[in-house]
């Protein structure tokens, strides 16, 4: 076979193989996308296609931003200062640990005038939360919104928290509660969140599978 014909044949064969693999990859992609659509549709944790899960991105910072309400020292580290600045930029009041601990000791907590809202995922809430806190998942607000909203509307102060640090779920929960009718000035964000609460040796309650709250316990 002449050299030129052999080269042409090899090139043709390579092109055929590439086209075959490309077509196969395309088929896998299309079938995989269909698989994903079905899996999301049947999954109880599936996402909604059109819902905006981060609506607070559109919230303009309130000017002037509410001041940090602290009972003691200024922010302890850069991460806390960053979280406080972020919360304030979104127009919410930021609380540090000292202020949160004071609020926890406030007897009004027992009468429902000061309430706590846990914005972490349900699994984490069940494992442990600040005693008396109500669970409110901002990514599935329809599950608890009415119940939590009723509590919030009766309260003078609503302390919302998540894991702390870079977690923004508390802000998202506060934003949704505000949209639902809770006055913004009643909503405060505990920026240290549950992580700091546990680290500081504060009381923790847990819920069993039925949702029943267990006795508070001290966790290291």
């Amino acid at each position: 076979m002449p050299q030129s014909i052999r080269v042409t044949s090899v090139v043709h064969e390579a092109r055929r193989r590439a086209a075959s693999v490309l077509a196969e990859a395309g088929m896998v992609l299309l079938t995989g996308l269909l698989f994903g659509w079905l899996a999301n549709a049947v999954s109880p944790r599936g996402l909604q296609w059109t819902r905006d899960y981060f609506p607070w991105l559109k919230v303009e910072p309130v000017s002037p931003a509410p001041a940090l309400e602290t009972s003691d020292a200024p922010p302890e580290d850069a991460a806390e200062a960053q979280a406080i600045a972020r919360v304030q930029a979104r127009g919410f009041i930021a609380w540090n640990f000292g202020r949160a601990a004071e609020a926890f000791e406030d007897p009004r907590r027992l009468t429902g005038q000061v309430i706590w809202v846990d914005a972490r995922p349900e699994v984490q809430y069940r494992r442990g939360h600040i005693p008396g806190a109500s669970h409110f998942d901002p990514y599935r607000p329809e599950q608890q919104l009415l119940e939590v909203l009723a509590l919030c509307l009766r309260a003078d102060q609503v302390v919302v928290y998540c894991s702390g640090g870079q977690c923004e779920d508390a802000e998202l929960a506060a934003h949704l509660l505000q949209q639902a009718g809770v006055p913004r000035e009643r909503l405060v964000i505990y920026v240290g969140g549950f992580g700091e609460w546990v680290q500081r040796g504060q009381p923790v309650a847990s819920a069993d599978s039925s949702g029943k709250v267990q006795q508070p316990s001290l966790q290291p």
Partner: protein, 176 residues
């Protein structure tokens, strides 16, 4: 490498199963907690519209699971492997870019950067993560390029079927 075709073939099968199992595992972690993956995707500021962000968070994990299952079963191995390469390369570049941004913000060494990249393993250090992605990409590219790893494949050995000419080995007579 002086290995016989059979040894290379078994190596390819091991790679196919390893890559497949990894993809199924990581895909399930993300797919079963889509909100966590949604938040991870959002940090890359890849897309601006909500539905596109949701689409990425919905499709990517299950596409990984699907590709992993195909690799484990040995169906459409070459196409699946190249599809994985086409997903891994841009994702690795995104992770790299985000790590550089964090390094710049935090003023720390590159390898000390640690964040949840949405890979399914929680917070990880960037250097091992990039090395892992490089290995996964190389493994997928080799499977796609060589067309090997079709021993114990559902399509060719277990259910029968025509083995592509380029995937045959002369030493064993089995489809590769």
């Amino acid at each position: 490498m002086n290995a016989s075709p059979t040894r290379i073939e078994w190596l390819a099968v091991a790679l196919r199963w390893g890559l497949g199992a990894w993809m199924v595992g990581m895909g399930l972690v993300k797919g079963l907690d889509p909100v966590a993956f949604l938040k991870a995707v959002r940090q890359y500021e890849l897309v601006s519209s909500a539905w596109m962000l949701n689409a990425v968070a919905i499709w990517v994990p299950w596409l990984e699971v699907f590709c992993g299952l195909l690799l484990l079963a040995g169906v459409a191995v070459r196409g699946t492997a190249w599809l994985l390469v086409s997903m891994l390369v841009p994702f690795t570049l995104l992770v790299w870019r985000h790590a550089l941004m964090l390094q710049n913000n935090l003023q720390i060494p590159f390898c000390a950067v640690r964040f949840d990249c949405g890979c399914g393993l929680g917070e990880v250090y960037i250097c091992p993560k990039l090395a892992e992605n490089l290995l996964l990409t190389l493994a997928a590219a080799w499977l796609g390029w060589s067309g090997k790893g079709q021993r114990l494949a559902l399509r060719y050995e277990l259910l029968g079927g025509n083995v592509p000419a380029e995937c045959r080995t002369t030493a064993t007579g089995h489809g590769t």
